[in-house]
Symmetry: C2
């Protein structure tokens, strides 16, 4: 068993002493670096072709080693979803960070501490109340907190509509702290056809640019226009007026993304290694030691063309999906594998053997782990990369 977190970036001629995935206890999170690199290249090529800057969202991987593959740079820019991520990445040399969850006043002292330490940490908000709280804090503490106003481009979750009078009121409340606008078209996950995705990407872009223009017309400088989600960036045909795009889950891909067409199942870079711990022949079930804590309870494919249950069952080494099998239900530390056809070939899964489960939602599944066992797609573990969790 690999006991400790070991970073091993310089994989050269000699085989590092990290063993193989057969040595791992289960459940364990395995990351295929070759797939990660391919996903990273594809996204970089896409944003380069559209002439826009990529600000990867690290909430998926929460790992400095993954960021190095994604961006190849040390200082950022990145997007984070928690201040724990901000602290971790800043401690690893990343200085250009957007904290893309509406800021709560209780977090301002911690944000100020990071900014005073040299981190260019920006925050977002979408209410006059939050704008006033930030402005009061900035003035009282004399710390320059830069703010983006969150724009509602799809009615999905948060943000102020670009044509809402509130937008100008928030801008006025912020005063010099205002540096831009941002949006996340989460409704892109409801699109099904290429035409729908392209229209959503264009809507995300145009409404956010429109909000920036309204603020500028009202006299507020608004240099940053930040948009993005993995589907809208993937399907976008252009980013006129946008200064940066954000996407996260493209790094790993997952079954939801493959159903949405932003990757294929062969691109999915992480999987949960599990052991077969039981055969229930009476009910045609194979039991594995990966339950809802190991796989997450995400059922993101439930409403998509192929419902993968709690995950797709793969060969642990080749990562080839064993087409008929899914994790159809989970308890805390148990996964129940069944066949869509009903009948399980138990000889294919001896008790004690391994399977790999591809996740519905990579962000949710990875969150249960504090490390990635990194392979190049085979059995050999070439590195162990840490990740940061919590808040």
């Amino acid at each position: 068993m690999v006991e400790h977190v070991t970073e091993n970036h310089g994989v050269g001629g000699s085989i590092p002493p990290l063993g193989t995935i057969s040595d791992l206890t289960t459940p364990a999170l395995v990351l295929d670096r070759s797939r990660l690199e391919a996903n990273a290249s594809r996204m970089r090529a896409k944003v380069q072709s559209l002439g826009v800057m990529l600000r990867p969202h690290v909430k998926t991987s929460k790992s400095i080693d993954v960021l190095h593959v994604l961006a190849g740079v040390d200082a950022g820019p990145i997007t984070v979803s928690t201040l724990a991520e901000a602290r971790y990445f800043f401690a690893h040399g990343v200085t250009d960070i957007l904290y893309a969850v509406g800021v709560a006043a209780v977090k301002l002292p911690e944000i100020a501490e990071l900014i005073r330490s040299g981190c260019k940490l920006r925050v977002i908000l979408d209410t006059v109340e939050a704008a006033k709280a930030v402005r009061a804090f900035v003035e009282a503490e004399q710390v320059p907190i830069e703010v983006l106003i969150e724009i509602d481009s799809d009615g999905h979750r948060a943000g102020v509509a670009p044509n809402d009078l509130l937008l100008i009121e928030i801008g006025r409340s912020l005063g010099p702290s205002l540096v831009g606008v941002m949006t996340h078209a989460g409704a892109s996950y409801d699109c099904r056809t290429t035409a729908e995705f392209e229209a959503m990407a264009e809507q995300e872009r145009s409404l956010t640019v429109q909000a920036a223009e309204r603020l500028r017309t009202a006299g507020h400088p608004c240099p940053i226009v930040s948009v993005g989600s993995t589907p809208t960036v993937h399907y976008s045909c252009g980013f006129d007026g946008v200064t940066e795009v954000r996407a996260g889950v493209y790094a790993f891909g997952d079954l939801v993304q493959s159903e949405l067409g932003t990757c294929t199942t062969d691109d999915i870079a992480i999987g949960v290694l599990a052991s077969v711990i039981g055969h229930n022949r009476q009910h045609d079930r194979v039991l594995i030691d990966a339950g809802f804590l190991a796989l997450s309870r995400d059922r993101g494919t439930a409403a998509l063309p192929i419902d993968w249950g709690y995950g797709a069952v793969c060969d642990p080494v080749s990562s080839e999906i064993i087409q008929d099998l899914t994790v159809s239900s989970t308890n805390q530390e148990h996964g129940i594998v069944t066949a869509r056809s009903g009948e399980i070939d138990f000889d294919r899964f001896p008790v004690g053997s391994r399977v790999k489960i591809l996740p519905n939602h990579a962000c949710a599944t990875a969150a249960a782990y504090d490390r990635y066992f990194v392979t190049e797609g085979g059995e050999q573990i070439v590195a162990v990369w840490d990740r940061v969790n919590g808040w």
Copy 2:
């Protein structure tokens, strides 16, 4: 903000310097010790009245401090769901541990290490293959691993049926390692009436006792008969032939348990403290900074009489449920609070104010946190207790 894990058990006349829940950044997991103590007392009274030993399942709390409240003893017995729990509790002096997930051969070296260090760690299995693997390991390594055969008492998940010939074959394969039988009637979660719960509890008991008797008749000593789930222990009318019962979630209670009648919502001992980060007046939504990582994606109440969404919204101090409100959807770090009636009283939830969210499933929600902020039901934090996660 409380930065470090501090244990503070001796709360006496002086107020400890841990601050109040208003000082906490969000999301944070808050534990009401008074409710925990009441839940613990109620369960102890129940098992004492039925004359059976309680082996608390620590997979809910994963905290030595919680165990001390539940059991008041240091050495166990306890039930665990991971070897990480076994290592943690053994390091804290607990020696009598049942690892209640079918054992995978890859874990035997780690189990042997714990046993050789003085831990009475027992394992479970339900296949001939696993029995043979354990027996071979025991003989090769000369380490005494004691085994319980898992019995299927409800067709829910795992185990061998008490009347299955396989039972005797597994017993024979195990030889001297066999020390008993165990079951978990997970199907108790599908019961709705007291009569159904009582019948399920009796079924769990009688089938497991029957399995033990079959093994004894076949010449195998079978001293341990272990059964349990929070609902079946709660509703049981008697444990004839049973030597120990296991239950876990009763410690904290949750919305699923309150719907099943094993507790009330006023007994729920944990909640997620969250900040209001946005008002979406157009869609009558309050946004909070607790999403599916902070609350878990468990939807255990979806099929129960009251569907609480992703959690019930409470006053952060009194823990009184604000009846009309639930977290109706979640993203990674966003929770969307809506009213069943449709209309939200936004003035009740100013941006920057706090709410507390009671969990659907305490085991799933607590798993996202590495510590509990402990109160006596008020604002004052009286202790910070750690917990162990991972595998």
